[in-house]
Amino acid sequence: MSTPRTLTMAQAIAEAIGQEMERDNTVFVMGEDIGKYGGIFGATGGLLDKFGPERIMDTPISETAFIGTATGAAAAGLRPIAELMFVDFFGVCMDQIYNHLAKNTYMAGGHIKLPVVLTTAIGGGYSDAAQHSQCLYATFAHMPGLKVVVPSNAYDAKGLMTQAIRDDNPVMFMYHKGIMGLPWMAYFEGASNEVPEAQYTIPFGQAKVVRAGSDLTIVTLSQMVQKSLLAAEELAKQGISAEVLDLRTLVPLDRNAVLKSVARTGRLLVADEDYLGFGLTGEIAAIVAENLDTVALKAPVRRLAVPNVPIPYSRPLEQFVIPQVKGIVESAQALMKGRVAETVAA
């Protein structure tokens, strides 16, 4: 037996890719600075040395070309992983992503498979401003044809990445920069955890209760899971027992896990780093609203997300718009004071 190891999320992702490349020689990686640099956020660290430039392919700054190339190579039987350095860069290549990669299988009546993993960095919190700080997972989850994976920690990231590479469909694998454990960016240490060396998979569509509680449910994902865990700790000191549910994947979405937890606690707070409007928080709230025949709420649903403004640069502005631990605590406290109407006013 090997001794327990703690990996950063970046190391766990790179390990998952490397092990799958050893197992399956149709897997290869394309992207900007993924070779010698090891990926700007470390997701391909060490892979060039192991597999060489034929399988770890630095590309020109041509996202349309290499994401389209991934689609074409997948149709021909390979299993490409392509990295879109920042999700914000989707603007230069979205046609190849959502008009082709996401739709071709459907338009072919299911007769073609496109096993592409599109990795991309998300999230703010380090003053990178409006073009390098978004999450946008709800945008990709909104459009049919893409599976959307949003891990919160190293253990999950490895299992979900292995699962993603083996999936016969396009998978967006979206990692938050602030939990990758980079040596040059502050991160939430809870995201670096024990990761087995042997390969394993985590099925998509299975949310995880990362902290059990009885007074309210915090439905969340990605870096916000780590913030929610810290908030739950704080709330516990105040006698409030918060359950934290990590969605882990948005497509497919584990609706049952949301309903089961909220049915038990009777209170829902959705904590999200994407935009508030027309997004994940509304989706989760709607799922609960559609099931009020079996789920009894004690208080109105609360949503915490980025108000509908671009991510600002200046620290006090950014800290204000991106939900922080303190904001989660305050929202939970307010949720505990909320009451639903007992009867509908005539």
Partner: protein, 335 residues
């Protein structure tokens, strides 16, 4: 490379088949779309009839498709455009399933989920896209796959002269040349990007002149002629099969019909098409075959009859096929 008898006859028969297919489709497309069978006040209803939606036909552009595809094998990949029928037919996509797809039937290539701009036939390695300039990147992917698998397969990306001004053109040509991918980029210059002539959209006369900027050969085919296309592109196919990299080819061709069926074509001179049709590549190839003693009158008639029969059978198959059940719309989002 000189085209031999079999190649010439194959190209002729395919061109006849394509032309008959497009002309048949032009007629069938109008079924149910004209007064008095449509909403009062409309002159045309694009969403009605057995073949609804947009319809882009390629009559006149047959030489590009057959001149290239005559060099290809089943394992070679073709990625076409929003005007894809001539490429699909020349690549060997089954006519019946292709037609059924345009009729929206369950027996179609995509079970009725794609329609005429989105034909996918993995068996014959054919696909196409309704987005201008979108054919080039996936062709690079097919080329990369062939290279990684150690095969001598090639990939062809067809696109119009309008698409040569998309960013995807630049990105894909650079990538293919950089990685020495076995890709042949074929620009069909039919002079019109819907209503905008090439002279109003492109800063140079020949898109093929851009090849040198990417460090690849550029081949110019000045006439809408199947034999000329076939012979001119042979070096590009050989170069790709030998692993020496991509080539950019431009073929001057003619669009006999509107951008889409129902296009009033107010932008083109009234006599343009009738003048273009005087140079129809199909009778010209027939005359060549006869002058070389490669096809008798009787053989020529038999070819035309065979081609028409195949087209008629495909349309009958499409008409007789069943529609998908509505709930099938919920299937196939994921493989």
């Amino acid at each position: 490379m000189q085209a031999g008898k079999d190649t010439l006859l194959w190209m002729y028969e395919k061109m006849v088949e394509i032309r008959n297919y497009e002309e048949t489709m032009a007629d069938v497309y109008l079924e149910g779309k004209l007064p008095p069978n449509i909403q009062k006040g409309l002159a045309f209803d694009i969403g009605s009839g057995p073949v609804p939606g947009e319809m882009h036909l390629a009559a006149g552009q047959e030489p590009v498709a057959v001149g290239i595809c005559a060099h290809l094998k089943q394992d070679d990949t073709v990625v076409g455009t929003h005007r894809p029928h001539h490429f699909a037919i020349a690549k060997g996509v089954p006519l019946d399933k292709m037609t059924a797809e345009m009729f929206g039937k369950a027996t179609g290539l995509g079970k009725g989920k794609g329609g005429h701009m989105h034909l996918f036939d993995p068996v014959h390695k054919f696909s196409c896209s309704g987005i201008i300039g979108a054919s080039l990147p996936p062709a690079c992917g097919a080329g990369l796959a062939a290279k990684k698998m150690g095969k001598d397969w090639v990939a062809v990306a067809f696109f119009g002269e309008g698409a040569a001004n998309q960013g995807s053109f630049h990105e894909a040509l650079n990538l293919a040349a950089l990685w020495k991918l076995p890709v042949i980029f074929v620009c069909e210059d039919n002079k019109w990007a819907i209503s905008v002539p090439k002279t109003n959209a492109t800063s140079i006369d020949w898109v093929a002149d851009r090849a040198s900027a990417y460090g690849m050969p550029g081949i110019k085919v000045a006439h809408n002629d199947a034999v000329e296309v076939y012979e001119a592109v042979a070096p590009a196919i050989g170069r790709a099969r030998r692993g020496e990299g991509p080539t950019l080819i431009e073929v001057k061709t003619d669009r006999y019909l509107g951008h889409f069926q129902g296009d009033p074509e107010v932008y083109r001179p009234k006599d343009e098409v009738s003048n273009l049709r005087k140079n129809d590549p199909i009778p010209r190839l027939a005359a060549l075959l006869k002058s070389r003693g490669l096809m008798s009158n009787g053989e020529g008639e038999a070819i035309v009859a065979r081609a028409k029969q195949r087209v008629a059978k495909a349309f009958a198959f499409a008409r007789e096929s069943a529609y998908p059940v509505p709930q099938d719309a919920l299937q196939d989002v994921f493989a």
